[in-house]
Amino acid sequence: MTNSRAEILAKVLKNQPELQPLPADLVTVTHYDNPIENFKTILTNIGGSAVNVPDYQSIQDYIKTHFPNQRIVSTLAELSAISEQGWENQDPHSYENVDLAVIRAHFGVAENAALWITEDLMHQRAVPFICQQLAVVIQAKDIVETLHDAYVNIADSVYGFGTFIAGPSKTADIEQSLVLGAHGPKGMTVFILD
């Protein structure tokens, strides 16, 4: 085998132009009057729904009403009364018939309704993608304005896998008609704890 690595790097070194500086980091310059309201509006626009809740009991009540008789898994100890026990540490394929997965996010972003979730909050990476419906719990105080603020928060934290999730899985590949639930969750509920 030829040493492509050395060849490519040599060509890059030879052909790259004179050094140009990296620009200064951008910060949030346009501020929202009410970031939480903005988050909720965007989330609704992209097919999700936001529910303000005072406590975990209200989350349980909401889930009992809206997702009766379903397979529910959760990484939140506060929701153990309504979720399956001992679901962890299975082959990830076995979560294919999970109706609702409830997990936590580190924070949300007002400009695009994205939630930052790292794998320690998912239990297994496949969980938020393979479930039929996803619900995420965040604190109202943890909604930042833009992605610039988001990466200030993330900083140099260490994770094996992390993702921004904004709304349910979707596609518009057939004649630009928006359809929710392409491969992943068909719906997404965000519980905002005051």
């Binding site: 492509s4 790097l9 050094l19 500086p21 620009p23 200030v152 993330i154 896998f161 993702t163 904004a166």
Partner: protein
């Protein structure tokens, strides 16, 4: 590939036979363009975002050697196996070897324009490996045995009735069923089954961070994640230009990418892969395939800044009315017409001419590539190198001659206006490539020069 070579204008002729479809295609893409405008206008600091993105990418290209080395080192520390491929053939071999080692002959793939560029699917098929594309649009064109016609919306050229027919034939949906909700649900069932049963997954890469060794993959459907998190082996393939220096640079690119692409504030999933999950193998293939050559061309190197948002295609009047397949290359539209001649100047000599040079592409480009200027420069290079299609070379010479003399320019305009008014067929005929299938604009009675002399100078 094809024995009978057809150039862009001949392929456009085929597309243009069905005028109603052309109108529909045009309007659909303009609708996407309008959504982009709305999203961009919602961000008052949009222009400073574009400027920052452009500067970050300039920095990347000017320091690419060190960033690649840094990225590789960090990715290795994270437990990712890094491979280097000089060209498409080596890329395909590397992927095939990984699969052979694992004894895998069926795999799933989420969207990756790089693997399209390398014709990976064909290569693997020849070697007995079954590939299933999982992006819905890509799955549709795969069933139709066609290449994608657009980098973000792969089956934008297809009507829902045609998709219904394909699904009826391959997935057993009822005949005549063309409802997008129903068809998407059928695809979901079919593809979920494949996700569950495949052991290897290929994804593309949108951004790779030198500082951390992580790479980011953006999808709306969640197909890259479904594939990668269920498979034992994840292979991510990327062009060497996808590197960015710092993790925090992602804020700039993620704010721009989807707003420019579809007008969404962000894709549903922006997944940051840093380490394989326990028991999983993660491979990353870094591909050159002509990129270092493009880097050596001062006039064209900044085409490597492209983040593949497709805004330049959606806005392009030629793309909208000629369709992605008329570009006969993996990446269609204005940016594809700059990238392709770098790979093969002769085969793609026609593409830089498939533009009105109106500059709309450069105006929407989130990383500020001077797309239309590069198209114009490619024309000059191609004519000089003797690759230009004969008719176009002649037109270029006449134009050069006309523009080089103010006297001839003035009178050429006058003559042109006279001809268009009194004998439009001499302009709107088969020899005139520009006006082929185009409505001629109404002829102004006087040129700007004449009007100016009469109305402004006299004031």
């Amino acid at each position: 590939m094809n024995t009978e070579f057809k150039d862009h204008s001949e392929l456009s002729d085929i597309f243009n036979k069905d005028e109603a479809r052309v109108d529909w295609h045009d309007e659909t893409l303009w609708f996407v363009r309008a959504k982009r405008d709305k999203a961009a206008h919602g961000i008052p600091e949009w222009e400073s975002l574009r400027e920052a993105a452009s500067q970050i990418k300039n920095n990347v290209l000017s320091n690419l050697h060190d960033y690649l080395v840094e990225f590789e080192e960090n990715a290795r520390k994270n437990g990712v196996t890094v491979h280097w491929a000089a060209d498409a053939a080596e890329h395909n071999q590397i992927v095939h070897n990984i699969l052979k080692e694992q004894g895998v002959n069926r795999l799933i793939k989420s969207k990756s324009m790089l693997t399209e560029e390398c014709h990976l699917n064909e290569y693997l098929k020849k070697n007995g490996v079954e590939v299933i594309d999982t992006d819905l649009g890509e799955r549709i064109v795969q069933l139709a045995e066609e290449p994608p016609s657009h980098i973000v919306l792969p089956c934008i050229h297809k009507k829902k009735e045609e998709i219904g027919d394909l699904f009826h034939e391959h997935l057993g949906t009822p005949a005549g069923m063309a409802d997008p909700v129903f068809l998407t649900a059928a695809a979901r069932t079919h593809l979920r089954e494949t996700f569950i049963t495949r052991k290897a997954a290929i994804t593309g890469v949108n951004f790779a961070v030198a500082e951390t060794g992580e790479f980011v993959v953006c999808t709306n459907e969640g197909n890259a994640d479904m594939g990668a998190h269920l498979a034992d082996v994840h292979i991510a393939c990327m062009g060497i230009e996808k590197i960015i220096p710092k993790r925090r640079n992602l804020s700039v690119f993620l704010r721009l990418l989807t707003r420019s692409a579809t007008g969404q504030p962000i894709t549903t999933y922006s997944s940051h892969f840093r380490k394989p999950r326990p028991g999983q193998q993660m491979h990353l293939v870094l591909v050159d395939n002509g990129r270092t050559t493009q880097l050596s061309r001062p006039d064209f190197r900044n085409s490597l800044k492209c983040i593949r948002c497709a805004a330049c295609m959606n806005t392009c009047p030629v793309y909208r009315r000629s369709g992605g397949h008329s570009y006969h290359t993996a990446i269609a539209g204005p940016i594809g017409s700059i990238l392709a001649p770098n790979l093969d100047m002769k085969e793609y000599a026609d593409l830089p001419f498939a533009s009105t040079l109106c500059g709309s592409c450069s105006n929407v480009c989130p990383v500020k590539i001077n797309i239309h200027e590069q198209l114009y420069k490619w024309r000059q290079v191609i004519v000089k190198e003797g690759y230009a299609p004969a008719k176009k070379a002649m037109a270029m010479k006449v134009m050069e001659f006309t523009l080089s003399s103010p006297f001839i320019y003035k009178n050429a305009g006058k003559a042109g206006r006279w001809f268009m008014k009194h004998a439009p067929f001499t302009v709107n005929n088969k020899l005139n490539l520009w006006y082929d299938h185009r409505e001629m604009p109404e002829v102004p009675k006087e040129s700007f020069g004449e009007w100016y002399n009469k109305n402004v100078k006299n004031d």
